[in-house]
C-alpha cells in the first residue's frame, strides 16, 4: 500500500504546480556581433501557456538586425502548446529580419519540436467571408421559399407515386402485405386508444364547463348539449384525433423509415427487386386510413361522454336529458361532416410521415430533424385542410 499522496498536485501534469515556465532575454556578450539571447526555462506545457504567452509578449525586443539565439537547454517539459509558442517566437523573430538559431534542444523534445514546426507551416484555414445581416436575411427568405415550393411539389409527386402503387395493388391484391397493414393498425389505432380517450374526455369536460358558465347567464343551460354536440362532432373530435395521430404515428413512420434508410435497409429492399413504396408506405397509409375514422368516432364518443359527465355534475342535466337534447340538436349529417375528413387527414399524415422518412440521409441526426419536420408539416397540413373543408361545407350548405 503506497502512502496517500496529494492527488491534485500529481494530477497537474507531474507536479507542474511547483514550477512554471520562464523566459529571459538579453544581450549576450558571448555571442558574436552583439548577439541577443532568449533563454526559455521551466515547464512549457498547457498549464502555463497563458503565462508564457504573456511573458513572450512582454519580453524585451532584440535590437534590429541582431542575430538571435533561442536557448532551450533549460526547458524541463515540452508539449504541443509549448512547442508551438517557441516555434511562433522563432518565426516572428525571423519575420522581423533576425537570424534565428535554436540551441540546446533536448533530444527527447526534438521530435515534438520538429513535428509542431512542420504542422505550423500549413497555411491557416481560410476565413469565411463576412456576412451582411440584411443580405443574409433576404437570401435566407429566398432559399426558404424556394425550398418550401420544392417540398410541396415533391410531396405532390410522392402522392402520385403512392396512388399509382395503390392502383397496381388493387389490380394484384395478393401483393398487399396484410400482416404489415394489421401490425400498423394495431400500432396506430389500438395503442392510441388510452391517450386519445383520456384527452378527448378532458376536452369534453372543459368545453362543457366553459359553455355552462356562459349559457347559465341566459338561463339556457340545456344548450350546452348543442354546443358540445356540434363542436365535438364537427371539429374538435376529428381535429384532436388527427393532431394526436400526427404526433404519435406520423413521427413514428418517419423515425422507422428514416432508421431503415440510415441502415441502408431501404437500399437493400431496392436491390432485391422490391418496391420500398409498396413495402413501407402503402401498408402504413392504408392502416392509418382505416384507423383514423375509427379513432375519430371514438374521440367523438369520449368527448361527448366527458361533456355529459360535466353537465350532470355542474348543471344537473341527467344522461337521459343529455341524449334527448343531443338528438334534437345534431343529425347524422353533423357526424358525417366530421368523420368524412378522417381518411383525408390520414392520407396526409401518412404521406408526410413516410415522405420525410424516405428523405433521411446518412446520419442519425437527420432522423431527428426529419421527424420533427414530419410532425410540424403533418399538423400544419391537417389544420389547413380542415379550414378548406369548412369553407367547402359552408358553400355547400352542409
Amino acid at each position: 500500500m503506497r502512502a496517500a499522496e496529494p492527488v491534485a498536485a500529481t494530477l497537474a501534469k507531474d507536479g507542474a504546480a511547483k514550477d512554471g515556465a520562464r523566459i529571459e532575454a538579453g544581450n549576450d556578450p558571448g555571442l558574436p556581433d552583439g548577439g541577443w539571447r532568449i533563454a526559455a526555462a521551466g515547464r512549457w506545457t498547457l498549464e502555463w501557456a497563458t503565462a508564457v504567452s504573456d511573458a513572450l509578449d512582454r519580453a524585451p525586443k532584440p535590437p534590429g538586425g541582431a542575430a538571435v539565439r533561442l536557448d532551450l537547454a533549460r526547458v524541463e517539459a515540452l508539449d504541443t502548446v509549448g512547442a508551438y509558442l517557441l516555434n511562433r517566437l522563432a518565426e516572428r523573430l525571423g519575420a522581423d529580419g533576425h537570424a534565428v538559431s535554436v540551441a540546446g534542444l533536448r533530444p527527447e523534445h526534438a521530435a515534438l519540436f520538429d513535428a509542431v514546426r512542420d504542422a505550423g507551416k500549413a497555411p491557416p484555414h481560410p476565413i469565411e467571408r463576412e456576412h451582411h445581416p440584411v443580405l443574409d436575411m433576404v437570401v435566407r427568405t429566398g432559399q426558404t421559399t424556394v425550398n418550401a415550393a420544392k417540398e410541396i411539389l415533391d410531396l405532390v409527386g410522392f402522392l402520385g407515386l403512392v396512388t399509382v402503387t395503390f392502383a397496381r395493388l388493387i389490380l394484384r391484391p395478393s401483393r398487399l402485405r396484410l400482416t404489415s397493414v394489421l401490425f400498423h393498425i394495431e400500432q396506430t389505432g389500438l395503442n392510441a386508444l388510452p391517450i386519445l380517450g383520456l384527452l378527448s374526455f378532458l376536452i369534453g369536460v372543459v368545453l362543457a364547463f366553459q359553455g355552462a358558465d356562459q349559457l347559465k347567464r341566459f338561463g339556457a343551460e340545456l344548450y350546452v348539449v348543442n354546443l358540445l354536440g356540434i363542436s365535438v362532432l364537427r371539429e374538435i373530435g376529428i381535429l384532436m384525433t388527427a393532431i394526436i395521430v400526427a404526433g404519435r404515428s406520423g413521427s413514428a413512420f418517419t423515425a422507422q423509415i428514416g432508421t431503415m434508410k440510415v441502415n441502408q435497409e431501404v437500399d437493400a429492399i431496392g436491390t432485391m427487386g422490391l418496391d420500398p413504396v409498396e413495402l413501407l408506405v402503402v401498408p402504413r397509409a392504408l392502416a392509418l386510413m382505416v384507423t383514423l375514422p375509427l379513432l375519430a368516432f371514438y374521440a367523438d364518443v369520449m368527448g361527448l361522454f366527458g361533456g355529459a359527465v360535466m353537465a350532470y355534475a355542474t348543471l344537473d342535466i341527467t344522461f337521459g336529458q343529455f341524449i334527448r337534447q343531443l338528438h334534437s340538436a345534431v343529425g347524422i349529417n353533423t357526424v358525417i361532416a366530421g368523420l368524412i375528413k378522417a381518411p383525408v387527414f390520414a392520407l396526409v399524415i401518412a404521406m408526410v410521415g413516410c415522405y420525410e422518412g424516405l428523405k433521411v440521409s446518412g446520419s442519425a441526426e437527420s432522423v431527428g430533424i426529419m421527424t420533427t419536420k414530419a410532425v410540424v408539416e403533418g399538423i400544419f397540413l391537417v389544420i389547413v385542410i380542415d379550414a378548406v373543408f369548412s369553407v367547402l361545407f359552408s358553400m355547400l350548405g352542409v
Binding site: 491534485a8 494530477l11 501534469k13 497563458t50 504541443t80 513535428a115 504542422a119 446520419s363 441526426e365
Partner: protein, 273 residues
C-alpha cells in the same frame, strides 16, 4: 512516478447478467509503450476499454490510471485525470453539429484558460499534426471521409496533450493504404509526444507494425507478451490467431519490410563507405 505502470488493472471482474466477461483480469501498461489488445468477438475488448475510462463500472477489481485508483476519485479529480487521457472512438464520435476545428477546440476551451486566439492556433497545429489538410478545420464531420473522421477524432483526442491515448479499432473501416498511413501517423505521434497508447484492434498489420506488446483476451483473462512470445504460445486461440492465413500474411509483410529496411541500410552504408 517513472517506472510504475500508467495503467494497472488488478482482479477485474465484469458481469452482464449471468454472463461473466472478465474473471480476475490483471494488466499493466508501461509508460511510453504501444499496447495492442486483441481477442475474439464478445471477449470484452471494448468493455475493458470502457472500464478503464470509467464509462462502465466493473463488478469487482481495481483500476489505477497514472497511479490513482479510479474508484477513489471525486468529481474534480476524475475530471483532472480525464484531461490527461485522450480517446479515439471507433467511429470518431465527432460532434456532428460542430466543425472539425470546433471539435478540437472544445476540450481546450473547457479545460484551459488559454486565449481564444491561442486555442484556435493550437487547434490548427493539432489538425495539421493529425495529417489533415488545412481546409478540413472548417468542415463538418458529415463532409469528411472515414479516414479523415478518424484523423479529426485523433486531433481532438490529442487536444490536451494527454499522457495516455486510447484507440478503439483505429483502422477499422479504412482501406489498407489508409490503415497503413494511420498506423504510421500514430507511431509518429507516439514518438514525438511520448504517448502511451492502448489500442483495441483487429488489424494484424497494426499489431505487427506498431505495437510494442500485445495483450490477448482469452479465457476471461489477459495474456500480455511480445509478438514472438505469442507466436510460441500453444493456447489454441492464440495459435490460430497468429498462425492463421491472415496472421501469416501480416508476419510475412513485416519480415519483407524489415528485410527491405536492412537492404536499404546496407546500400546506404555501401554508398557512404
Amino acid at each position: 512516478m517513472a517506472g510504475s505502470p500508467v495503467i494497472r488493472v488488478r482482479g477485474l471482474v465484469t458481469r452482464f447478467g449471468p454472463q461473466t466477461v472478465h474473471d480476475g483480469l490483471d494488466l499493466d501498461v508501461e509508460r511510453g509503450e504501444v499496447l495492442g489488445v486483441v481477442g475474439g468477438s464478445g471477449t470484452g475488448k471494448s468493455v475493458l476499454l470502457k472500464e478503464i475510462l470509467g464509462l462502465i463500472d466493473p463488478a469487482a477489481g481495481r483500476i489505477e490510471l497514472l497511479g490513482h485508483d479510479t474508484a477513489d476519485l471525486d468529481r474534480a479529480e476524475r475530471t483532472a485525470l480525464q484531461a490527461r487521457t485522450g480517446v479515439l472512438f471507433q467511429n470518431g464520435a465527432l460532434f456532428s453539429s460542430m466543425t472539425v476545428a470546433e471539435n478540437v477546440m472544445l476540450p481546450l476551451k473547457e479545460h484551459t484558460d488559454l486565449s481564444p486566439a491561442l486555442i484556435a492556433e493550437v487547434a490548427r497545429v493539432k489538425i495539421a499534426m493529425a495529417g489533415l489538410p488545412p481546409d478540413a478545420g472548417t468542415k463538418h464531420p458529415a463532409q469528411l471521409s472515414g479516414g479523415m473522421i478518424k484523423r479529426a477524432g485523433l486531433a481532438r483526442a490529442l487536444a490536451l496533450d494527454p499522457d495516455i491515448l486510447f484507440l478503439d479499432e483505429p483502422t477499422a473501416g479504412l482501406d489498407p493504404i489508409g490503415a497503413a498511413a494511420f498506423d504510421t501517423l500514430i507511431q509518429g505521434l507516439q514518438r514525438s509526444l511520448g504517448l502511451t497508447v492502448f489500442m483495441v484492434t483487429h488489424d494484424l498489420d497494426s499489431l505487427t507494425s506498431i505495437c510494442d506488446r500485445i495483450a490477448v483476451l482469452v479465457d476471461k483473462k489477459i495474456r500480455v507478451g511480445t509478438l514472438a512470445q505469442h507466436l510460441a504460445d500453444p493456447h489454441p486461440w492464440i495459435h490460430d490467431y497468429f498462425h492463421g492465413p491472415r496472421g501469416r500474411a501480416a508476419l510475412d509483410a513485416k519480415e519483407r519490410n524489415q528485410a527491405r529496411r536492412h537492404e536499404e541500410e546496407d546500400a546506404r552504408r555501401l554508398a557512404k563507405g
